[in-house]
């Protein structure tokens, strides 16, 4: 019980610090929210009107008052008004979270599964050409920026071959409600591939190293002396001992996948949270940016917490907390 309370207190402190950091960074940014909001219309607006908009948004108040006012609203469950989308933040996020979950969540899941499988395969064949191919592939991908990979994929499959659509989550001009499941999948596939390819590398490399370590252990030697086949060893000893570290890496990679999704969503014009983040940053939309930052913090820290709990539950050496 005390552990749970301590964890909740730490979680709250983490969220508060992240919010403060994002707030201060945005205040230090040269983007003026009112100018960004007006866009080209700025030519028709005088300084008095701009001051009126700023006053309506509360931007004329001292910085610390702005932060405390925002924090007070958040604690009461009001995330505020998005200036770039001209809608409540909660609604902007609700509209986008499904698209984001479909893309980021699936990419995370697939990269975990494929990464683990590839890592196991490479380790089981360590030193052979299979291992070398997988390793080179992983190094290459780990060194490739996501947006560049996304652009390459798009040039190849959307522009060159014409197999996949060039943007968005549905055909242009069709209201979101009327997009069929097939069309949705068709639009999802390329961003999903880009993001999954990006996530696989790390998990595969981690799994490979861990499994090689396992395969050189004393207990695998004894298993071999008992006449166990390579498959038997990988299934009974390898996966059991390599799964936990792989799971921890997978949980920790949530943040990276989300970071990658910001770039991938931008390239594919995918209407998810990642693209909203860029929009909010460019337009100085503080309430939206803060809300997204808090949500991401919550997801990443919860992911790590789950990994810790699982580790303690599965590994008897951790005391079965």
């Amino acid at each position: 019980m005390a552990g749970v309370l301590r964890h909740l207190a730490r979680q709250a402190l983490l969220l508060a610090l992240v919010a403060l950091a994002v707030f201060l960074l945005m205040k230090a940014s040269p983007v003026d929210p009112v100018d960004a909001y007006l866009g080209p219309a700025i030519a028709h607006v005088g300084p008095e009107q701009k001051a009126q908009i700023a006053a309506a948004w509360g931007l004329d108040r001292p910085t610390h008052e702005q932060f405390l006012a925002w924090a007070g609203h958040v604690l009461r469950g009001d995330l505020g008004q998005s200036t770039s989308y001209n809608a409540p933040v909660a609604q902007v996020m609700a509209d986008r979270i499904k698209a984001s979950l479909a893309l980021t969540g699936l990419a995370w899941l697939l990269s975990g599964i494929f990464g683990f499988a590839l890592g196991c395969w490479a380790a089981a064949q360590a030193g052979t050409w299979v291992d070398r191919t997988i390793r080179v592939y992983c190094y290459l991908l780990a060194a490739t920026p996501t947006f560049w990979l996304a652009l390459l994929l798009m040039m190849a499959f959307s522009v060159g071959l014409g197999w996949t659509p060039i943007c968005c989550a549905g055909p242009i001009g069709v209201p979101p409600g009327q997009v069929s499941l097939w069309q949705k999948l068709h639009h999802l596939i390329l961003p999903l591939v880009a993001l999954t390819l990006f996530g696989v590398a790390q998990i595969a490399l981690h799994t490979r190293v861990k499994l090689i370590e396992v395969l050189q252990s004393d207990y695998v030697l004894l298993a071999r002396a008992q006449g166990a086949t390579a498959w038997d060893i990988v299934i009974h000893h390898g996966i059991r001992n390599a799964a936990l570290p792989a799971l921890t890496v997978t949980m920790a990679s949530v943040g990276e996948i989300f970071g990658g999704s910001i770039l991938a969503e931008q390239v594919f014009a995918w209407p998810g949270l990642g693209r909203a983040t860029v929009e909010a940053g460019m337009k100085g939309d503080l309430p939206l940016l803060l809300a997204i930052a808090l949500l991401t913090t919550l997801i990443v820290s919860t992911g790590n917490r789950i990994a810790d709990l699982l580790q303690a539950r599965v590994d008897p050496r951790m005391g079965g907390a």
Binding site: L222, A223, R224, A225, Q226, G227, D232, R240
Partner: protein, 255 residues
């Protein structure tokens, strides 16, 4: 049962980008082993004792080269017949690290039974390990319990030859003697035991013969009865010096 003729093991390693060099780690090992016999293999660290065990189990790494001949019941062991491992020749491992830390002991005994094609899962109770032991993880076993569990695992496939690699290291005298008695019982039932150890004294009462390895060379084959008194009955100078240097024999090093 087992016949080893002029066994040698070398490892090739790269000394430059392309130049390979072979390092000999074991050479000139020859011996016969019969039913009912316990052969003690004595030597310091790096003498090649464990290497010999791995060679007899066909578990040398790919960069090792094997010279000489080994045969088991008249059948050549090169290439290594997979049907020997675990079933005819079994390894009794040394440390608790030879048990998978994330699997319960019960599961590991079942796996061992399946791998060796044993009809039944070994009975741990005869070794003083109660049914509750099966639910324990290796980290929860005491040193003596772990060693008895490893003995049980080695015996699953009812092997003819048991290779015990340092089975008594780190055990208190009571547990040590208990384990040595188990090994001796295996030989009395018509099996054979290769007892690898660096500790000569406790091994003498159970061993019939003693093979001495030093830095990869076989430098003596003695009857364990000859290790007595001033050691004059011992045939090799090395064995003689080893015997006289023991704490029980006044640490004589200039003999």
């Amino acid at each position: 049962m087992l016949n080893v003729e002029n066994l040698g093991i070398g490892f090739s390693r790269y000394t430059g980008l392309l130049r390979q060099e072979e390092m000999t780690r074991l050479s000139g090992v020859s011996f016969d082993l019969c039913e009912g016999e316990v052969l003690a293999v004595i030597g310091g660290s790096g003498a090649g004792k464990s290497l010999l065990a791995h060679a007899l189990l066909g578990l040398l790494p790919p960069n090792a080269t094997l010279r000489g001949t080994m045969s088991f019941r008249g059948r050549s062991m090169t290439p290594y017949p997979a049907s020997l491992r675990g079933r005819r020749i079994a390894l009794m491992a040394q440390q608790v690290s030879h048990l998978d830390p994330l699997a319960r002991l019960g599961a590991q005994t079942r796996w061992a039974a399946r791998r060796t094609g044993a009809a039944k899962v070994p009975d741990l109770q005869t070794l003083g390990l109660g049914p509750e032991t099966c639910r324990l993880y290796p980290g929860q076993l005491s040193g003596g319990m772990a060693r008895r569990a490893l003995f049980a695992l080695a015996g699953v496939g009812q092997p003819d030859l048991l290779i015990a690699d340092e089975p008594t290291a780190g055990l208190d005298p009571e547990n040590r003697d208990r384990l040595l008695a188990l090994l001796q019982a295996h030989a009395h039932r018509g099996g054979a035991v290769i007892l690898i150890t660096h500790d000569l004294m406790p091994a003498l009462p159970v061993a019939d013969r003693v093979m001495i390895l030093d830095e990869g060379h076989m430098c003596g084959f003695e009857s364990s009865r000859d290790f007595k008194g001033d050691g004059m009955a011992l045939t090799s100078p090395y064995a003689h010096a080893l015997w006289r240097a023991l704490p029980e024999n006044a640490f004589l090093t200039d003999a």
